[in-house]
Symmetry: C2
Subunit: 190 residues, 2 copies
């Protein structure tokens, strides 16, 4: 079981799912894209849904690492947020197909009990909430409801990604962090 084959399938699936959406994605098309046989997919994944789960799990893991790194950095909340934003957006610039999936595929009861999408949609706002709560304690940001504010920030991030992808204008992801941070900073700074 070479790990490369699994990676090959993941990448092919990202390409196809970004184009067609999960439900319109045929296993056969993923196989074509990966240059392998349909059956091979099932040597590495138990189901089509597992592939999507895996895609989300990989992306979530990256973000969790970013957020963990950022947490331990010697910097104020705003610098932390900026670092995270840049990493997140750069990741998406490098692979817009993944970005499309991250903003498009929503949590729904699929066949097996899907989990990774829910995790993604929960864990990131939750970590933002944590950072924000911390910043509040340190008096780094203005009084606010950190839970709602985290939801607002996460939503805004998703909104920017959606816009960039819809307009097929990835350079937006370069200027967006600045615009977003400028707004948030003035909005929340003490």
């Amino acid at each position: 079981m070479e790990e490369n084959k699994k990676e090959l399938i993941r990448k092919a699936a990202i390409k196809v799912m970004a184009e067609m959406g999960f439900y319109n994605t045929k296993a056969s098309r993923i196989a074509d894209e990966a240059g392998i046989a349909v059956g091979t997919i099932y040597n590495y994944f138990n189901s089509k849904e597992d592939i999507l789960e895996y895609i989300f799990a990989v992306e979530l893991e990256k973000r969790m690492v970013y957020l963990e790194q950022v947490k331990n950095v010697e910097a104020d909340f705003w610098e932390k947020l900026e670092i995270f934003l840049r990493k997140h957006f750069n990741e998406i610039k490098d692979n817009p197909d993944t970005g499309k999936i991250l903003v498009s595929e929503k949590e729904f009861p699929r066949k097996s009990g899907s989990k990774a999408i829910g995790d993604y949609l929960y864990a990131i706002p939750d970590k933002l909430d944590y950072l924000l709560t911390d910043a509040l304690k340190n008096g780094e940001v203005k009084e606010c409801n950190p839970e709602i504010t985290a939801a607002i920030i996460f939503g805004a991030i998703q909104g920017v990604v959606e816009k960039a992808i819809k307009n097929d204008n990835l350079t937006l992801l370069d200027s967006a962090p600045e615009e977003l941070l400028k707004l948030l900073k003035r909005g929340l700074n003490i």
Copy 2:
């Protein structure tokens, strides 16, 4: 062809699609929910997809009316935005199932050329962009890129709705406008 029957189907479909998602929604389940026969659905809609299209079209129409009303109101940008936010959130409080659909179902090539979802995701940010550009001209808001900022605001709105629904806490939609407006105002006010 009574109009009521179409409405009955729309409402039943909203309930089922909010619970299961579009692709997991069976026509037979919609029929059950509406207390009619499967075939009847097809006297009013050409396809399952048409039902979803119709759901989005109805909701978009409402928002367009709100935004049109707001545009002509004698008030500054912030009051306009607040009025719209309250109307939008109240609409969702009254029917959270619809809200779930509005934040969950994304634009993808379905069988026929789906249009309404794309319209919804495009038209609202576009109108916000318009209002914002106007406000900029009048010096009502701080210098900003209205296109990106509109995407940020729309994303933030969607984020709040998602949060409220995920947490099954609709009262969030009462306090959220205030929180969101506070942030945006300070962030964008001159």
